[in-house]
């Protein structure tokens, strides 16, 4: 039962344009969402997060949007840079005893072309 899905395995964009990475979830008990970036042969690094009480969170070039009714979140990167090329994972957490347990999607490989 895959509760967090990233339906696009890969995305290619031109440098300077916007990158939009999508994530869907099925568990309505999830109330906190995170995005991680992963380079080859390295561990994931935290990028940005959003609580379910918000619908948008920004941090410099990165913005995460949350649509609770659609159980959908997206990560916007603008402008995209070649150094952004990596695998992006979205993750979701529940409440209470499940708050410490992150469920990950299977990742989207972003390639930003110079």
């Amino acid at each position: 039962d895959q509760q967090v899905k990233q339906n696009s395995p890969s995305l290619s964009v031109q440098e300077g344009r916007i990158s939009i990475l999508n994530c869907d979830y099925t568990n309505s008990m999830f109330d906190y969402f995170l995005w991680y970036k992963k380079y080859p042969a390295e561990g994931p690094t935290f990028l940005i997060s959003i609580s379910s009480i918000k619908d948008k969170n920004e941090d410099e070039r990165f913005t995460v949007f949350l649509n609770k009714s659609a159980k959908h979140l997206s990560l916007h990167i603008v402008p995209s840079q070649p150094g952004d090329s990596a695998v992006y994972f979205c993750a979701a957490r529940g409440r209470g005893t499940n708050a410490g347990k992150s469920t990950f999607g299977d990742g989207t490989t972003l390639t930003v072309k110079p």
Partner: protein, 112 residues
């Protein structure tokens, strides 16, 4: 100065062997985790410790046993290794059990 370090980075071993992966964090975090990334690239949580206490124990075979001697260390011992155990294992830590996680570089385990 690595924040979360795990050793070894690569581990090739035969079926039936017992092996350990070590993890140390120098961030002063209270919570540590072990994740497994299988061939389909899914990252799945295996265990989580908070202040040396086991708080998350997912459906993992008993052959896998975590050990936390102190807050800064969480080791993973695997008995009787099987082919299906081949994966990348990531250690991680977070300031609290609800904060974002900092990951180590991963240990690629190959069982032959």
């Amino acid at each position: 100065d690595t924040a979360v370090s795990q050793t070894p980075k690569y581990l090739v071993t035969q079926m039936g062997n017992d092996k350990s992966i070590k993890c140390e964090q120098n961030l002063g975090h209270d919570t540590m985790y072990w994740y497994k990334q299988d061939s389909k690239k899914f990252l799945k949580i295996m265990f989580s410790y908070n202040n040396k206490e086991l708080i998350i124990n997912e459906t993992v075979p008993n052959r896998f046993s975590p050990k936390s001697p102190d807050k800064a260390h969480l080791n993973l011992h695997i008995n009787s290794l099987e082919l299906g155990d081949s994966a990348v294992y990531f250690c991680a830590s977070s300031q609290t059990r609800v904060a974002e996680a900092f990951f180590g570089q991963g240990t690629r385990l190959t069982v032959v």
